[in-house]
């Protein structure tokens, strides 16, 4: 058997042992412990208080706008990082390019501000 296969065999043996041990202990536990289900026991634990409403609660729609704008402006940063790491090499040329890029981004931000999207009403 080659070295390659032997090292995989070790992995298989250990993986099998891990599965076996875990299932043995869990199985033993479920055999030994008493099991008396009541509806109260399956309620979600919320700091000891009775849970309110559905777990699929919807968050406020206004979070969406902020989350969206965060994601958009955050992701645009991927174009700024490469420039920032080599700032001095790109010199004035890079600065002007980046100024144009950020101007267009800022246009979007100004738009959101002017249309009152940044305000929490």
């Amino acid at each position: 058997m080659s070295d390659f296969l032997r090292s995989w065999l070790v992995l298989v043996v250990f993986g099998g042992l891990a599965v076996l041990l875990v299932s043995a202990f869990l199985g033993l536990g479920s055999l030994l412990r008493p099991s008396r289900d009541t509806p109260q026991k399956s309620i979600n634990y919320e700091s000891g208080v009775d849970p309110q409403g559905d777990m699929w609660a919807q968050s406020n729609i206004r979070y969406y706008v902020f989350a969206l704008m965060f994601v958009l402006f955050d992701v645009e940063a991927v174009f700024i990082f490469p420039w920032a790491t080599r700032l001095e090499v790109y010199d004035v040329f890079g600065l002007v390019e980046m100024a144009i890029f950020i101007f267009i981004l800022a246009l979007g931000l100004f738009y959101a501000w002017r249309k009152r999207l940044l305000r929490w009403v």
Binding site: I61, Y64, L68, V71, L72, V75, E76, V78, F79
Partner: protein, 99 residues
């Protein structure tokens, strides 16, 4: 150099994504499936880029990430609009147009 493993991972992700788009009926889940496909593409590009020792793949992946963010922004807005107007994001429920 590892390449096949990445390509396999990406092919699996791509297939899961395509399955999700075709089988899911919830607007948001379809969007997430499309994101899976895009991530499969990114894995492919970065793996090929490292394998070929050219940066083209990484640069392409960065562009895909940025554009995908804009795309998802539009998509979520669209799903939201649908929810506002008809209180559901079930894609089977949209059937005003057919012929």
């Amino acid at each position: 150099m590892l390449l096949n493993q990445f390509l396999l991972l990406s092919a699996v992700l791509f297939s899961i994504g395509v399955y999700g788009v075709l089988a899911r009926r919830n607007g948001v889940l379809v969007l997430m499936s499309i994101e899976l496909i895009l991530n499969a593409v990114n894995i492919n590009l970065v793996a090929f880029g490292a394998f070929r020792a050219t940066v083209g793949g990484e640069v392409f992946a960065l562009f895909i990430i940025a554009v995908a963010a804009a795309e998802v922004g539009v998509g979520l807005a669209m799903v939201l609009l649908m929810y506002r107007n008809r209180r559901s994001i079930d894609l089977t429920a949209i059937d005003q147009l057919r012929g």
